[in-house]
Amino acid sequence: MTKDTLIGKGLLRVDAAEKVTGMAEYTGDLDLAGVLEAEMLTSPYAYARIRSIDVSRALSLDGVIEVMTGNDIKGLYGPMVKDRPVLAQGVVRFAGEPVAAVAATSKQIAKRAVELIDVQYEQLKPVLTHEEALSPTAPLLHEGLMDYEKEITANVIAGTNICNHFKIRKGDVEKGFAESDYVLEETYEVPRNHHVCLETYSVIAQFEKEGTLHLWTCNQSPYVLQRALAALFNMPWNKVRITIPTLGGGFGSRVYPSVEPAIVALAQRSGHKPVRLTLSREQDFYRITNHGCTATIKTGVRKDGTIMARQLVTYWDTGAYADCGPLVVRNSGFTSAGPYRIENVKIDAYCVYTNRPVATAFRGYGIPHVTWAYECHLNRIAHELGLDPLEIRLKNVIQDGDRSHTGEKMVAVGMKDCLEQVAKAANWKPGTKPAVVDLGDGRYRSLGLACSWKGTMRHHATSATVRVLEEGSVEVNCSNVDMGQGSSTIYAQIAAEELGIPVEQVTVRHPDTFITPYDRTTSASRGTFHGGNAVMNAARDAWQQVAVYAAKVFRCHPDDVKAENGLIIDPETGHKYAFGDILNKAVIGGVDVIGRGNSYMEGGTGLDRETGQGANPTSFWMYAAQIVDLEVDTRTGQTTVHKIFAASDVGRAINETNCVQQIHGGVTMGLGIALSEELTFDDKGRILNNNFHDYKIQTCMDVPPIEAILVEVPHPLGPYGAKGLGEAPVGPVAPAVADAVANAAGIWIRRLPMTPERLLEAFRKDGK
């Protein structure tokens, strides 16, 4: 509408002021009258039968309103496999599994009540690794696996602990290996780590007087939760109200129900009082984690670096309940051959139950895990062939018009652009190996390179409404959750752009299933693409209606009406009018306008269960390439990262600043995975470092300067050409760090994180 477009501008985030001044209201900040505080009793054992539970002492404590155990609530839930009880049913499958729940008049009383519950367990030998779980003598952790309700994604294998086996079959890998000059097979490992949302999990449930269940929660996907709770508690969807206050991070850890069912059950038995559970940081670590993954990768190449065949077998430790593990395994399995043209591909990915805490999505749905494997592996192959890491990639990367390994005809592929632009920024010339600088005293500095891709796969529907109030202020309603990624700013910008109003006149509502329309999930970097399209379409619909009213007033054709800076222009006279003036003139007494917009992918094919083939499996792809400049101390194993150059293909930046921040955040997360983050477990399956003292995220003192490079290859179906971004920058960091370490000091690391101790051990083994 306006010549001076808002699209691309690095506007300040719409929620910046309220967040930095502490005014933003998170779930834990809500002050509901008479709220009861909940606490859970969790299992100390990874695998045990529950012999008996005695809650009588807890119930007799003053201030205790309700104590529940698995005897009081039946039913199973889970997004992919309905395998999870609300509270343990006779057996506990991981240390930290909720066994009983208490509601009391204060948190302190609830905690004391939990300490008074007496549970007698019969310990069983826990299955703590995927190897143990796949052994023929392993117990079946879910004997009812075949009888559970499940989604089509969960390709379970009867009589095993495997809750998904994902496959891709393309060409003939054996033939490809035979035609290769060099074949390498290696195994790479990623341990479990944690999302570390700044806000710990918090949920409040209340049965309101009109029979509505009202839940306030810090979840990423209100509609997933609405439907899951409606099914579990046998309620119609329109009686389940999910309100999402300000969210303090998600990163995939909040897409599906976790502690909500137990709190709803407590609320159901606590009259009309609200019941709140806010987890401590220590509990939050047990609520959900990232998957651990072991990937065996085999690649055959020609002498010139052409990739002939690739085979991957990955095992994913998904923990005691499937949650979205089967989806993580599918979405990462789907991309795990890497962003390359490969004629012969064979992929087998297994999602395996163990007696560890539940694993879920983590910024990239397993992409960082497989990127670690395929990129380290490719760098090693380049080294063996005497090629440089950039050269081998430029030779093989997938490009416009290529068929992917699942048969998709690729469009708007920015992979090569990312590689070229990041190499230019870091002054890395193709065909030249990065130099090693000897800094003395055992310290060496060099560069490392890696890239990654991700298909969103979450091409489901998102709806939005845009309401133009008579005075010209605008409300955007969309249930895609702003978790900190900045989607509300993007939506405000899009609505303002379409309606010709200043962005300050737009308010983006918090998601609430009683108000904001349907959105499948806030996940898979889909907010800008799908939410953005929905908001854009809704704003266009609203403008059409405004234009019709204005045309009536101006006696012109609606197409000739324009707006600029919040004023509607009479095409005849050039006079400018406030929205209110026009709407009031057009309709006696005035009128508001509601525009509707949807976004969903037409013609999606899914993937064939046996071959993984599908010509249209994802609405868009993301591409990222990064170069790490680091120094390694071979005497202590310490690394000092000097700079990270990070290019991401964003299609088109709607908000340049937001895009840069997303890259900074993703790279920072990736750097933690690379260098310091690992959940450690004892031999009983308990987490040893569920606190910030021992679980080492990167601090602002550790994160180096990050040069974000926005590559813009417009997507034909994205709003203004834009597409998703958030997940892609995480994956390349660790393999690029490993490549720089290899270039600087000649050692090849295969397991994360690259702690000083692990690196020093590798230097020792290498005779450094």
Binding site: F692, T699, M701
Partner: protein, 301 residues
Amino acid sequence: MPALKPFLYERPSSLEQLTALLADHAGMVPGYLSGGTDLLVAMRTGKDSPELVVDLKGLPNLRGINRCEDGKLWIGALATIHSLEVNKTIRSQITLLFEAAQSLGSWQVRNRGTIGGNLANGAPTANTAAPLLALDAEILTWSPVGKRRIPVASFWLGARKTALHTGEIITGVEIPLKQGSSSAYTKLGPRKAMDIAIASAAVVLSLDRGIIQEVRIAMGGAGPTPLRARSAEAYLTGRPALAENLIQAGKLAASESNPRTSTRATREYRLSVIPVLVERSIRSALKRQEGLVEENGGEDR
């Protein structure tokens, strides 16, 4: 997270009140609160559950950093870690204590945490511990039965055990200031902030025409308490400041260490890095002397 155990909270405003308070609650082991960066964490996780919490921040004369007439520097027990890193005397003359203070925790922790608390907590890797050991400092204490001066070398008795008696508080620390000496503190941890050292090395030395005159080396994380590397010190004393001698000193320091394996690092890793930290600390301290270390071109790896 267990329920927080009930406790009494008292904030005496004089030592007389503290005496009376301890007498009134004889039989209770008081938990002393100054910055709270250790005590409150321990109470929250249930590792410590004192029935009586005594806030020392109301007591007079425990704050500040002053030069004494005898050429020593007195640091009050309630002096915050941040006040150490901005103190001019410490910055210019006790560089290792400055380095230890500025690498402790975060701004927030340094603003709350105190030197008295850092010492009384008894951790072998406490940032201020190894520097004070290398400085030959004295710890001043008070209890209802009297005052004591405890040489730092006899302050730590074992893992998290100090020479403090029940009820005894640290009132301050005294550090001898010596002309001509230089110092350095090197800390190794997985992060550059908010981290406890895996191991650390603190060195104070003086040099005369290239010959090391006096040297004291202290190590954190090398055993259950902060340790002096006495054989390394003896070896270096009277020797020229050559790279080969520094390497040898590092080796000797490691041989005097007896670190443990913990969740943070294995014994083997600590033993590998201690010689490097000691060597690098000596080198930094030497660089701060007028004459720089004479490199003899030795293999550095």
